[in-house]
């Protein structure tokens, strides 16, 4: 029976296709200018074809309505993104990062194949609409198995702890427009898969699954943002910050799963709406920030924050767009990050008052406090990223000689910045639209009282604009006869006008490094042999302890297994025969 590639018109698929296309248009406009940097060494057509293939396969994943086409498009997406990550193949370490990413994405593909095989076994069909009809009949044990497989499969693609180590390697090495697509859109496609499997196929999951999702989400958020604070490479900071936001969305999904289990469907709908809204908002502002990092890289050819500074004079449009992106990610009203952040916090608070089991209340309360800490730390990290890169004086030669940026790159950034403002101000309408669909999903009828009074943000913005205008007029009138002198910075009279008296990026986060340094393996060494030299290094502790020891175990096993391999061809034919017979026996027994 040939699996036909059906496309479904489900609202969830349409919402994610909307996100993909919304981000793709500004990135495509940006690529037109950005490709000029690569024209000399690499092939431009190659990148354009691969980006087209990448976006088409993502749309295919989200729109497919049976398991076979889902997996085919998933593979296509993985391969296209792998080739895009190793686009700059002339630097050898990019290849290593690319191969790491390739292995992780195929591990996720493997788990997904096993999961769909199990779904076929339980329900007898590959088609999504038929699987949904079976959703009431899953037994508890079957739900556990599907949940674990979905967690590993989609989690390895999303970047949750402990499967996140590829994110800070792969996203910085890709070209910036590809990073914007990967960070903004590809992670959301994995989230779409997770939501479809858990909420639509399974309906409700056991309580322990929701608790696991909440704990993993909160751990990912706090771990990633504390690592992001201590980075000096702009794109690595943004990659860790993506992982933190994905952790936040995951925690909101966990709360929704817990509340569905207790049949508190109003709160579950609120949490699910918060998660979906944050998907849209994060896609917009993270793509914006990555495109800005790409512009900085194009203009100055360095990613290290400690060598930049004072770029606001030479890159005006980029500076304003980065400022808007920084405000959006730090949840400043009236930009879009604010709307989704308060929805997520509200879902935590309302869940505390609705649940009656004391341990669940303690868990949600502790996770809520940690989520509040991560939003404060996100402000710290992105204020560092914007302030050190764009403000102040240039800290090295690279920041002084700046190439002009092509107009198409600026236009792409401006479109995303305007989108960030619009989705922020008009967030009540978006929320009411999404909540209509989540209420339908969870079968709540009647009015939704969780979402009243959301139009306050529009009133707040209007009042803010009116008062700013009044003050601006007052300022104009006041400064008619006043003397405005432009001179060097005063700095209490201690100014020697050298660029190195400013704070560096590492100095800016020194208080946090002192207290939280252990999470990121922060090491500071001072050498004073010939000249005084400080080196500060961080590394990912999950990668050090978990990955390297498992790789050592695998190496050990392979040296043992290698002894079976003699190199004689007859022995290999015998092995093939034996494995064929075993496979036949297994198939006959289980089908």
């Amino acid at each position: 029976m040939l699996p036909l590639i059906n496309f479904q018109k489900d609202w969830l698929s349409l919402y994610f296709i909307f996100i993909i296309i919304l981000i793709f248009i500004p990135v495509a406009i940006y690529t037109k200018g950005y490709i000029l940097e690569y024209k000399k060494h690499y092939s431009a057509n190659y990148m354009l074809v691969l980006i087209g293939l990448f976006v088409a396969s993502m749309i295919g994943v989200v729109a497919s309505s049976n398991a076979i086409s889902f997996l085919v498009f998933w593979e296509l997406m993985s391969i296209a993104s792998f080739f895009l990550v190793i686009y700059e193949y002339m630097h050898k370490e990019n290849l290593k990062a690319g191969i790491f990413y390739f292995v992780m994405t195929h591990i996720s593909g493997l788990f997904l194949m096993i999961m769909f095989a199990f779904l076929y076994k339980y329900t007898g069909s590959f088609d999504f609409s038929e699987i949904i009809k079976f959703s009431a009949n899953f037994s508890s044990k079957q739900k556990y198995i599907i949940f674990i497989l979905a967690l590993f499969g989609f989690g390895a693609k999303m970047g949750i702890v402990p499967l996140h180590a590829w994110l800070p390697k792969a996203h910085p090495t890709a070209p910036s427009n590809v990073s914007a697509l990967m960070s903004g859109v590809m992670l959301k496609v994995a989230l779409y898969g997770f939501i479809r499997v858990i909420f639509i196929f399974l309906g409700s999951a056991p309580l322990i699954c929701g608790v696991i999702v909440l704990i993993i989400g909160t751990t990912t958020a706090i771990f990633s943002i504390l690592n992001a604070l201590l980075q000096n490479n702009i794109k690595k900071l943004l990659a860790y910050s993506s992982a933190e936001n994905i952790g936040l969305i995951f925690a909101a999904l966990g709360i929704s799963m817990i509340l569905i289990n207790y049949n508190l469907l109003m709160g579950a709908s609120l949490a699910l709406t918060a998660a979906l809204l944050h998907c849209l908002n994060h896609a917009i502002f993270k793509s914006l920030l990555f495109l800005n990092a790409g512009s900085v890289l194009y203009a100055t050819s360095t990613k290290n924050m400690n060598e930049l500074g004072g770029l606001h004079k030479s890159m005006k449009v980029t500076a304003i767009c980065t400022f808007i992106g920084t405000c959006a990610i730090s949840a400043i009203p009236p930009f879009n990050g604010f709307a989704s952040e308060i929805l997520i916090l509200r879902s935590f608070i309302e869940a505390i008052t609705m649940v009656s089991n004391i341990w669940i209340i303690i868990l949600i309360f502790s996770c809520g406090i940690i989520v509040a800490l991560t939003s404060g730390a996100a402000f710290y990290a992105t204020a560092k990223s914007f302030g050190i890169t764009f403000l102040g004086k240039p800290r090295s030669q690279k920041a002084e000689h700046v190439k002009t940026i092509p107009r198409s790159m600026n236009i792409g950034q401006i479109i995303l910045a305007v989108l960030a403002i619009i989705t922020g101000i008009f967030s009540p309408f978006i929320i009411s639209k999404i909540s209509y669909y989540t209420n339908n999903l969870l079968d709540i009828s009647g009015k939704n009282s969780s979402f009243k009074n959301e139009t306050e943000i529009i009133i707040f913005t209007m009042i803010l604009i009116i008062i700013t205008f009044i003050l601006y007029m007052f300022n104009r009138v006041n400064s008619i006869n006043k003397n405005v002198v432009i001179n060097d910075t005063w700095a209490c009279g201690y100014n020697s006008d050298k660029p190195y008296i400013q704070y560096t990026g590492s100095g800016f986060v020194q208080p946090a490094a002192k207290i939280f340094g252990n999470i990121a393996n922060y090491n500071k060494k001072v050498n004073y042999k010939k000249s005084i030299n400080i080196s500060q290094t961080t590394s990912d502790i999950v990668e050090d302890y978990l990955y390297k020891s498992s790789l050592k175990a695998v190496n050990f096993l392979t040296t043992k297994i290698l002894k079976i391999n003699y190199g004689k061809i007859q022995l290999h034919i015998l092995y093939i025969f034996i494995s064929l017979i075993i496979a036949l026996i297994l198939v006959l027994k289980f089908v």
Binding site: A319, I332, I349, F365, A372, I486, W490, A491, F508
Partner: protein, 309 residues
């Protein structure tokens, strides 16, 4: 969404009177220390002096310093429209606690970026310490919102003060939450033990370091916004935790009683701040930061008390 015109009058009153309250605070501090001190109206004279002067702008500053002080003052004035002062009611009106707390984020981000904008060491130092302290103070604010929601099941400040004004007997969880929030007020407004608002020495500056390079009318705007921010935080503390006597009906006697009790409570809070500033010293950055997990533990005790005892 109704908005009573009287609320507008209350808020405009706060904007005009906040330098007066800061002047009263400074007078209390000087009386406790035993010298005569400046007059109560001195902040008004300072602000008008600054508005009359010209400005020196650094040649390294960007659009942040150009539009920053204006937006900071606009955000501070906007928040005064979202709180009740001495009259409240249960109408469907603006005043969401989340918007209020995050609107101070506008002030925070612009101040931090103005600090980095001036390309001096002091600016970076102030921004770094201020971001660190407010990163640790975020869970305190979140805890406050949780506590008020558990008590009153509402996010609107007007409704919370209306509901809490019916309480006559304060249980201990309430008092613990009040203590926790007052430490949060001290942290966010750069008061002792986190920052000394009077000195201009490198060791003891946080807020002053960030605005070191502003002058003239820019400095006047930022100073006024920091006065308004302190008064607004104190009004939130008073009206959410001890709103006894606030006017809930629109009659003349109720309004008069509300106004008098409000002035009395605000003066009491200012006296508390003055005593703290006179007796304690600014603590080192990391010792001050240790106060935050202590407050979180207190907060945990408050929440368990509300649930269990």
């Amino acid at each position: 969404m109704k908005y009573n015109l009287f609320y507008f009058f209350q808020s405009a009153l706060i904007v005009c009177l906040s330098p007066l309250f800061i002047g009263i605070l400074k007078k209390m501090k000087s009386t406790l220390r035993g010298y005569k001190g400046s007059s109560i109206l001195q902040p008004y004279y300072d602000l008008s002096k600054l508005l009359k002067k010209g400005m020196v702008i650094s040649n390294r500053s960007s659009f942040i310093t150009t539009i920053g002080p204006l937006v900071i003052l606009a955000a501070a004035v906007t928040t005064t429209f979202f709180i009740p002062v001495f009259y409240t009611s249960m109408e469907n009106t603006i005043g969401n606690l989340f918007i209020l707390m995050f609107a101070f984020g506008i002030v925070k981000i612009f101040t931090v970026l103005i600090g980095l904008d001036s390309a001096s060491t002091f600016g970076g130092m102030g921004s770094s310490r201020e971001s660190f302290i407010s990163m640790m103070a975020e869970p305190l604010i979140f805890f406050l919102i949780i506590f008020l929601y558990i008590e009153t099941k509402d996010f609107n400040v007007f409704h919370i003060s209306f509901i809490n004004s019916k309480i006559v007997h304060f249980d201990t969880a309430h008092l613990i939450a009040m203590v926790t929030f007052s430490i949060g007020i001290l942290a966010e407004n750069a008061r002792i033990p986190f920052d000394n608002p009077e000195t201009h020495l490198e060791l003891t500056m946080m807020h002053e370091a960030m605005i070191l390079d502003l002058s003239g009318s820019d400095l006047a705007y930022v100073e006024l916004s920091s006065y308004i921010k302190l008064i607004v935080y104190l009004i939130i503390l008073i009206n959410c935790f001890v709103p006894i006597g606030i006017a809930t009906t629109f009659t003349a006697t109720a309004l008069l009683i509300g106004f008098i009790t409000f002035i009395f409570k605000l003066l009491f809070c200012l006296l508390g701040i003055a005593i703290i500033e006179t007796t304690l010293a600014k603590s080192r950055l990391f010792r001050g930061a240790e106060l935050f997990p202590a407050m979180i533990s207190l907060g945990i005790v408050a929440i368990t008390l509300i649930y269990i005892l």
